[in-house]
């Protein structure tokens, strides 16, 4: 019959196409399999772990709901690609969860003391471990490090070129020593080749892939040869990565890595990933779980897994406008030179900070992904403890402070008046449109009402607020309000560049294309001088001292009110051991070779 004929025709068509697709996959698999088998003999003859326990732990399933689109981290700046590549490639040094440098391919962290960093702070010499092998069995040498720099500087679409800013040359002194020279005094020389964002690629593999040829090297970009614990078996763009353990890994003699294969699976959303790990137990790890804290806590209560938070430098803060945003000032509004009528009075900004119950803000909006903070740099080792009094809400203390400073409610409407002008204490409080931010805004408004400060809330669409359109009066840079709330973070674990944001040179002026990062328009000669000293100080202890002092200066001057130290959140199955604290500074897989499965 015609009908069945047509139906079967469709069925056959579908099956044939499916089979074609499968055939392609099969072909890809066999070619990769072939390379794997050619490698295998070298592995068994050279690898020291024969009969060892490396790779005996079965499969590790990692869910990254945003899947990697390439495995060459130098051609993608996205965290998803960097993470997937960090299983394969290593930098010279990486950060541990506390922000301390740990030598990876380097034998040790170069410092001025051990002679690795030049006395004049103009160069750094990395000493490499001398027994590291690439996963193909060849030796890792200084030439690979030099090549990585050449690759990135000669390839226009290298997304990690910021890591080489200020680097004038990278030379191989001998097979295990690399000299990096800078164009200016660089007290913090650990940017190039440090963290999962600046890993070393193999010269032999990428030699013909420099510059315009970079995109033609799909095989290399999708299957980089690395020094890490794993190597690529199969990569499907924006979908899955399948890794095999690297028998040439430097930890193989110690039985590392534990897992024989790793699968990164993409797709779906954060909530589905959380459910798979915490409720269904069908995966071992779920990445970047931006899920309602109550929902996430419910899922965790199932008992199959735990949620971990990785803290780095993100802080949700209220910026306090040091200049006067009064519209009556016309084009002088919020310009440096004007002074806010009462927000620069220590009694007022201290009272505003004391009145806030930061823990409540965390519980309502952030849960696992936040903790209260009183510092703009909350991460070790630079975190100051001088401001920690703000962690406890003190409404009475705040009221007493305002009373003593003469801010009294003279007309009985519950709002205090400024003793100089007689105007009520009224604040316009703006932030971006976001359910969490609006609930926090409501809470802060209620705290401030208890100390006699009236607040008007305003929220602006994130694409406008953070958009940087110079014609818009609603961007966070223009700051036409008394206070505003958002999160910012440092690109590097070294705070030098980030702390420059509150120097006078960075003060924003709405009328002159703004430019700088000093949103509250805080200006203090002492701060500027201290920051200047930071840029020429190499000694870590002194740097820590200076950074703490800078943090205290800007906080105690009331230029901003830090609220919440924010974290990245991921979930782990209970059976996964050896993860430790989640790493917010580097790859969350930074210690994947130490991960094991219990039971």
């Amino acid at each position: 019959m015609k009908r069945t004929k047509w139906l079967s025709l469709f069925a056959v068509l579908a099956l044939v196409l499916a089979a074609c697709g499968d055939g392609d996959d099969g072909a890809a698999d066999t070619t990769e399999g072939a390379t794997a088998t050619t490698e295998a003999p070298t592995a068994t003859t050279e690898a020291p772990d024969e009969g060892g326990t490396a790779g005996q732990g079965g499969e590790l399933t990692l869910l990254q709901w945003q899947a990697p689109s390439t495995l060459n981290p130098l051609l993608s700046g996205g965290t998803k690609e960097l993470l997937a590549a960090s299983l394969i490639l290593d930098p010279l040094a990486e950060y541990d969860p506390d922000g301390n440098l740990v030598a990876t391919l380097a034998a040790e962290i170069p410092t001025v003391d051990n002679g690795g960093v030049a006395e004049d702070l103009m160069s750094i010499t990395w000493t490499l471990k001398d027994d590291v092998l690439w996963s193909d069995g060849s030796a890792f040498t200084a030439d690979d490090v030099v090549f990585t720099w050449e690759y990135c500087t000669n390839t226009p679409d290298c997304t990690q070129s910021t890591f080489f800013t200020g680097v004038t040359s990278v030379e191989a002194v001998d097979a295990t020593h690399v000299l990096v020279t800078f164009d200016a005094l660089t007290p913090f020389p650990y940017n190039a080749f440090v963290t999962f964002q600046s890993p070393i690629i193999q010269k032999a593999q990428f030699e013909d892939c420099v510059g315009a040829d970079a995109t033609a090297c799909t095989d290399a970009n999708f299957g980089p040869i690395g020094t890490g614990a794993y190597m690529v078996n199969d990569f499907k763009v924006n979908d899955t990565v399948l890794y095999d353990y690297n028998p040439n890994f430097r930890g193989a003699a110690d039985g590392k890595p534990f897992f024989g294969t790793v699968l990164i699976k993409g797709g779906g959303d954060a909530e589905a990933s959380a459910r798979s790990v915490l409720v269904l137990g069908e995966a071992d790890y779920g990445w970047n779980l931006q899920v309602d804290p109550i929902v996430l806590a419910d899922m965790e209560a199932t008992g199959l897994g735990i949620v971990k938070a990785g803290f780095a430098s993100s802080v949700e803060r209220i910026m306090v406008n040091q200049t006067d945003p009064n519209p009556d000032l016309g084009d002088q509004r919020s310009e440096p030179g004007t002074v806010h009528p009462f927000l620069t009075d220590p009694a007022v900004y201290q009272a505003l900070s004391m009145a806030i119950n930061r823990q409540e803000l965390v519980d309502v909006g952030y849960g696992f992904a936040g903790s209260p903070t009183c510092n703009v740099w909350p991460g070790a080792p630079y975190a100051s403890t001088a401001n920690d009094a703000c962690l406890t809400q003190d409404i009475d203390g705040a009221n007493a402070l305002l009373d003593a400073a003469g801010y009294a409610d003279t007309d009985g409407d519950g709002i205090r008046e400024d003793p100089d002008t007689g105007d009520p204490l009224f604040l316009l409080y703006q932030t971006s449109t976001n359910a969490v931010r609006q609930s926090n805004q409501d809470l802060v408004k209620s705290y401030w009402a208890q100390i006699g400060v009236d607040t008007e809330l305003k929220n602006i669409d994130a694409s406008v607020f953070f958009g940087g359109d110079q014609a818009s009066p609603d961007t966070y840079q223009v700051f036409y309000s008394d206070v505003e709330m958002y999160t910012n973070n440092s690109g590097s674990p070294d705070p030098q560049t980030y702390m420059a944001n509150w120097t006078t040179a960075q003060v924003i002026s709405p009328s002159t294309n703004f430019g700088g990062g000093n949103i509250p328009r805080y200006s203090n000669a002492e701060y500027d001088a201290l920051h200047e000293e930071l840029t020429t100080t190499g000694e870590l202890d002194r740097r820590i001292e200076i950074i703490k002092a800078l943090n205290d200066l800007v906080i105690q001057a009331g230029a901003m009110i830090p609220l919440i130290y924010r974290a990245d959140v991921s979930a782990f199955a209970n059976s996964i051991e050896g993860v430790g604290t989640l790493n917010g500074w580097d790859s969350e897989y930074w210690n994947v070779e130490d991960w094991t499965r219990s039971g």
Binding site: M1, R3, W6, L7, F10, A11, A14, L17, A18, C20, G21, D22, D24, D25, G26, D29, L63, A67, S69, T70, N72, L75, S76, G77, G78, T79, T155, P156, D157, T159, S161, T162, A212, A214, T215, T218, N221, F222, D234, K236, V237, N238, D239, T240, L242, L263, K265, G266, G267, G268, D269, A272, R275, S276, V279, L280, E282, A283, G491, S492
Partner: protein, 339 residues
């Protein structure tokens, strides 16, 4: 018929070029920046270098003509080379369509995605047809019976409840409560037809998405079959057939069904491009990274070459299956002649 098909195919070429131009123009006018998703620590100068290297700043006409050349000439030659393992001309120097996010040939990624899309969506489509037609036929033949009422209710539910709801419901029931099936689809699983375990794994991971989509597909189609059957059941030729003394089975299957299926088959043919385009929502819920998910992620990442290539291929499929529908129509109904 032959001349008709040739005429239609030739006419399709300018249509497709026009479609590609429109797709290009829309994407060119749409906001989007391939470097927008990069971290804020990458300075604007570096972003500009990356955009320049990708060809994002090329003038509209230049990039369109370049893409057209790649799509119409380079990619087909490459496919032929791959298929027959030969080299045509200076194959080394031809530049294929490169995705901005993966920096790899876009067509390779598309081919990589076809198996899972066809497995799940194709199977759901076939299953949907296999459910819809008998249900539609019986519902019409036994109009207002219990079967018809239940069938109508089920198909109405299937049609009106969106797949993002039925999908989540299925996950909650069969994954969370019962723990029978995995909630995500493992595309790295290669089915080994000699191993029951391997086949069973594939069935387990496909069963929920296939069932959800089949219910949705079957719903519309069975309503269509039912009404088409009802139209025909009251026709004179049916009475004639019965009075000839033909048995009821023969009347129903040979006469009524064949005539009723003419519009149904057309509808099925027109729905086939949709199978390739993927069920974006269902793929998202069950984490089947097929063509629909590829399109969505390419749009989100402002990966213009990938979006262009995918949408163009969908357009080609739509044009082809329109033609197939017309030809099928002629085959099923001898009264229709195109020449």
């Amino acid at each position: 018929m032959g001349r008709y098909i040739i005429r239609r195919v030739l006419f399709a070429i300018p249509t497709l070029i026009a479609i590609s131009f429109v797709i290009f123009a829309i994407l060119d006018l749409a906001p989007g920046d391939p470097t927008a998703s990069l971290p804020l620590t990458i300075p604007p100068e570096d972003r500009e270098k990356i955009r320049e290297a990708l060809g994002f700043n090329d003038p509209f006409l230049v990039s369109w003509l370049k893409w057209l050349y790649q799509m119409m000439i380079v990619e087909p030659i490459f496919l032929i080379e791959q298929m027959f393992n030969i080299t045509i001309g200076d194959g080394e120097n031809r530049v294929r369509i490169i995705s901005w996010s993966s920096r790899a040939p876009a067509v390779d990624t598309i081919i990589e995605r076809i198996p899972q899309t066809l497995w799940v969506l194709g199977l759901a489509f076939i299953l949907g047809i296999m459910i819809a037609i008998p249900v539609g036929v019986i519902s019409a033949y036994k109009q207002y019976s219990v079967f018809d009422n239940v069938g109508t209710f089920v198909t109405m539910v299937g049609y009106s409840v969106p797949t993002f709801f039925t999908g989540l419901l299925a996950i909650v029931i069969f994954s969370v409560w019962l723990g029978w099936f995995p909630s995500f689809y493992d595309t790295t699983h290669v089915v080994d037809w000699t191993s029951w375990e391997s086949i069973w794994f594939q069935i387990k991971q496909m069963i929920m998405p296939v069932a959800v989509l089949a219910l949705f597909n079957a719903a519309a189609l069975s309503r269509f079959t039912r009404s088409s059957m009802l139209d025909n059941l009251n026709e004179d030729y049916v009475r004639t057939a019965r009075s000839k003394g033909l048995n009821e089975n023969k009347v129903l299957v040979t006469h009524v069904l064949r005539n009723s299926l003419i519009p149904v088959v057309t509808l099925i043919a027109l729905q086939i491009p949709g199978v390739f385009a993927g069920a974006i929502i269902t793929e998202q819920i069950f984490r089947i990274n097929g063509l629909g998910q590829l399109l969505i992620s390419a749009i989100q990442g402002a990966d213009v070459p990938m979006v262009q290539t995918l949408t163009f291929l969908f357009a080609v499929l739509i044009v082809i299956f329109n033609l197939v529908a017309d030809v099928t129509y002629g085959l099923l109904d001898p009264r229709i002649r195109y020449d």
